[in-house]
């Protein structure tokens, strides 16, 4: 085992610089790379033995049992090749905007503007095989803004406006009541810019700021009647929502809110999603659920949610939640879910294609299919086995990280 790992490492040490030079020399022509791995994991979870992935100009050209073209650069990998992993939530590389709960409603704010591609958080994500992440604004605001999908190498923004984030967390609604009240009464700067939750028309019913969680939900409902803007796009089904909800009641409200307004998207949080009282609501809302990250010692009930949701046909994605959670917990989350009974194939799909679907970028990333971005990971063994490790990560067909 040790010997093969060492030789694999040696292989990358020699091949990767070679690749880099080849890529440079062929700049005038098409950049081609062929990778053959002992096992290639396809989007349906099936495994192709000695499969080959052909990459042209950063895109996957073909996948299958193909012969290698000796005249073009190629890489032999004595291990497993999967699509790059997708994390459905993270605050990687953000500054104070990750905690700025001072503007309750900023539905048009693009978190893509807070993307700092060279931040070390992205390299840490690469190390565990994550190639794309959903950057989310803080969940301390009712409407935190628009998420972005970015790659962990190369600084590519895959989607500038992936979801509208709404937080049903009691922190967003009630952490600072004085600000909250001011905001709903339209005195807040941010509210003035965005129109606030409240109608600017002097409607006697709505001129009072909400005084309860339920009242705030009603005000949110009204915002969905906006004629333009993020709320309106969400209501029309043009923009998915990402609803943060932790407690049982928060999750129930989020699911009902999405059902009533026919919103598409996902719930983030929901550790008790497998609760018999919640699961039917989540299923009816057709929302996906973004779980995790789980750490060692996590409550078994939350770990079992992965299996329960997947069995119920609810798409499940996993959060990275950097920098507060360690990147290694992303794979640990999967291993813990599997230890708690989840199906291995489904868990890997959650980390790749299902995650990409939740992020709304499945046409570009999340699986090894012709035409998609060449984001893939070379593993020493099974990607879900914690004792195997990432040997190299490619993003857009370029070596982005390798195990030294």
């Amino acid at each position: 085992m040790k010997a093969t790992m060492r030789s694999a490492a040696a292989l990358y040490a020699t091949v990767l610089p070679l690749l880099a030079t080849l890529a440079q020399s062929a700049s005038s022509q098409d950049e081609i790379l062929q990778v053959r791995a002992k096992e290639v994991v396809l989007s349906d979870g099936s495994r192709l033995e000695n499969g080959v992935v052909v990459v042209r100009n950063g895109k996957i050209e073909r996948v299958g049992k193909l012969d290698l073209d000796d005249t073009k650069p190629f890489l032999e990998h004595d291990g497993v090749l999967t699509a790059g992993l997708i994390a459905c939530q993270t605050l990687s590389g953000m500054g104070t905007e990750a905690h700025d709960g001072t503007r309750s409603l900023l539905p048009e704010a693009r978190i893509a503007h807070a993307h700092s591609p060279r931040h070390s958080d992205f390299e840490k994500a690469l190390e565990v095989g994550i190639t794309s992440v959903v950057l989310t604004p803080t969940d301390e605001n009712v409407a935190g803004g628009l998420t972005a999908v970015v790659k962990t190498a190369g600084g590519t923004v895959v989607a500038k406006e992936a979801h509208l984030t709404l937080s049903f967390s009691v922190h967003a609604f009630a952490s600072q009541p004085q600000r909250f009240g001011r905001f709903f009464s339209g005195e807040d700067d941010g509210a003035a810019e965005d129109g606030g939750l409240e109608d600017t028309e002097s409607d006697s019913r709505s001129s009072r700021s909400p005084t309860s969680y339920a009242g705030a939900l009603l005000a949110l409902d009204r915002r969905l009647e906006d004629e333009t803007g993020a709320f309106s796009r969400a209501a029309k089904g043009q923009l998915p929502v990402l609803l943060t909800a932790w407690d049982r009641n928060e999750v129930a409200r989020a699911a009902r809110f999405a059902s009533a307004n026919r919103l598409a998207g996902a719930i983030r949080g929901a550790p008790l999603a497998a609760d018999p009282g919640l699961l039917p609501l989540i299923r009816a809302s057709k929302l996906a659920v973004v779980l995790g990250p789980f750490a060692v010692g996590h409550k078994t009930r939350a770990l079992e949610a992965v299996k329960a949701l997947q069995d119920a046909g609810v798409p499940v994605g996993f959060a990275l939640d950097a920098p507060s959670s360690a990147p290694a917990n992303f794979r640990l989350t999967a291993a813990l879910a599997i230890a708690a009974g989840a199906d291995r194939t489904e868990v890997l799909r959650s980390m790749t294609i299902v995650g990409a679907r939740i992020a709304g970028v499945e046409s570009r990333v999340g699986s090894l299919e012709a035409g998609k971005d060449a984001d893939f990971v070379l593993w020493s063994g099974d990607p879900l086995d914690l004792s195997s490790r990432v040997e190299a990560v490619f993003v857009d067909g370029k070596p982005a990280w390798r195990n030294r």
């Binding site: 085992m1 040790k2 750490a295 060692v296 010692g297 078994t300 920098p323 507060s324 959670s325 360690a326 990147p327 290694a328 917990n329 640990l332 291993a335 813990l336 599997i338 230890a339 291995r344 099974d382 879900l384 086995d385 914690l386 004792s387 195997s388 490790r389």
Partner: protein, 449 residues
């Protein structure tokens, strides 16, 4: 003289391990025959297609040709290995005891055990293959007290070893106060002076025993001498009394130099425990992280040739790995990537175990004083994924901690005469895709999944 003191001194004088509390666990009648395609007897010793025979909770036969006797219960699996030993957990402790700041060297974990606390934690730990654990109070205190090795099985809260070690910490944030480097090195000095105190106590105690022996001998001789010359002495005494009366003075009894009894060294429970530490009867587990305090600790403990040191945590130990390896000090790690897990040392590195092992250090795994036993195997697998050798990882989960905490005579390996703590897997014990199917604790099937 307190009886416990007598017992402990007698035991330590004879270098005997302290007698476990509940050695008389009811015998298990069921005979088990456990067969595996790969029988891992101890890390590195594998029997392909072997079986174990278990009677009365003890392994009575091991090998390829062990056949199942009639009536034995047959258990089969792909791989079998010894039950895991968690090197540092808070099982059966309430959080207040686990993190108590007021513990002293002589505080006994066994007194804080609540075997009925959170039984699900024990069930989950067993499901994760952890059949015994070293439990320790006072995780955050300067001296955590005496740790205990406990069987996980909730049905039988068996204490495997009451006095397994003494724990201490250096440079841990206590009560919200994190020390700077001088505080940390100062803590090393205080710890070392305590060990020194223990050593001095043990020396003076031995000296006292010799003096006492000599005194008793001298007294006996003198008494014999006086007995023989009884009449002469009596006469002399009477004469003395008369003379005193004549002169109107008080009569003084004759004093003998043998009257002076040697004085017993001042005893207190902490010093006694520290003496056992200095003498190597109890290992000393020190949680320590930074390089300056690691260096200082290694340097200042070098003179204690009997001290059995175990280093725990050891965030920055790679920089002193060579010396740790040379002195054969085991290192107890909890390989987690949680940021902030090491207090101010927010650099818990999954590659640490592998790096230390490559430098020749013996690595042990534990939950870091928490209740993470359920996931200990996943943590070990993560360490393997970051460069730790598989055999070393299995050692860190079984024989390593069993040996470090003096219970390797009963647990940690699958050998004849050992307690039958056996795990049956459907694949690689360190592969997280494989599952633990059966867990046997002292010959009793406690998990079947």
């Amino acid at each position: 003289m307190p009886l416990s003191w007598l017992l402990s001194t007698l035991a330590s004088a004879a270098l005997l391990p302290t007698v476990p509390l509940q050695e008389s666990v009811p015998e298990e009648d069921e005979v088990l025959w456990i067969h595996a395609k790969r029988l891992v007897l101890r890390p590195g010793a594998v029997v392909e297609g072997g079986a174990l025979l278990v009677r009365g909770g003890i392994i009575v036969a091991v090998g390829e040709d062990v056949v199942a006797p009639e009536g034995a219960r047959k258990l089969e699996g792909e791989v079998a290995c010894a039950g895991f030993v968690d090197g540092w957990s808070s099982l059966a402790l309430d959080p207040a005891s686990a993190t108590d700041l007021g513990t002293a060297a002589a505080t006994r974990t066994v007194d804080a055990l609540d075997p009925f606390r959170l039984p699900y934690q024990r069930e989950e730990a067993l499901q994760g293959g952890v059949t015994s654990q070293r439990v320790q109070v006072g995780r955050m205190a300067q001296f955590g007290g005496v740790g205990t090795v406990l069987r996980t099985d909730p049905e039988r809260a068996e204490v495997l070893l009451e006095d397994a070690c003494v724990s201490a910490t250096i440079g841990i944030t206590r009560g919200g106060r994190a020390g700077d480097v001088f505080d940390r090195v100062g803590e090393v000095d205080r710890l070392v002076s305590q060990i020194e105190k223990g050593r001095t106590y043990r020396e003076s105690e031995i000296e006292y025993r010799h003096e006492l022996e000599a005194w008793e001998k001298a007294i006996a001789e003198k008494r014999k001498e006086l007995d023989e010359e009884f009449k002469k002495a009596k006469k002399k005494r009477e004469k003395g009394m008369e003379e005193a009366e004549e002169k109107g003075k008080e009569f003084k009894e004759e004093r003998y130099k043998e009257d002076k009894k040697p004085r017993k060294p001042r005893w207190d429970p902490s010093t006694e425990v520290l003496a056992r530490v200095a003498n190597g009867e109890l290992p000393l587990v020190v949680e320590v992280h930074g390089v300056p305090e690691l260096r200082s600790l290694l340097e200042k403990t070098a003179g204690f040739d009997r001290l059995r040191l175990v280093l725990a945590g050891c965030t920055d130990a790679v920089h002193v790995a060579e010396e740790i390896a040379e002195r054969r000090i085991p290192v107890l790690l909890w390989p987690t990537a949680e940021p902030g897990d090491g207090g101010e040392y927010e650099r818990h590195d999954l590659a640490l175990a592998g790096a230390l092992e490559r430098a020749g250090v013996e690595v042990l795994f534990g939950s870091g004083g928490r209740a993470l036993a359920r996931d200990l195997r996943l943590l070990a697998a993560q360490a393997v994924g970051h460069g730790l050798d598989r055999e070393a990882a299995l050692h860190a989960l079984t024989l390593g901690p069993a040996r470090a905490f003096d219970v390797a005579d009963r647990v940690g390996t699958l050998e004849r005469g050992k307690h039958a703590d056996v795990l049956l897997f459907d694949g690689d014990p360190l592969g997280t895709n494989s599952r633990i199917r059966t867990v046997i604790s002292r010959g009793r099937v406690v998990v079947e999944q």
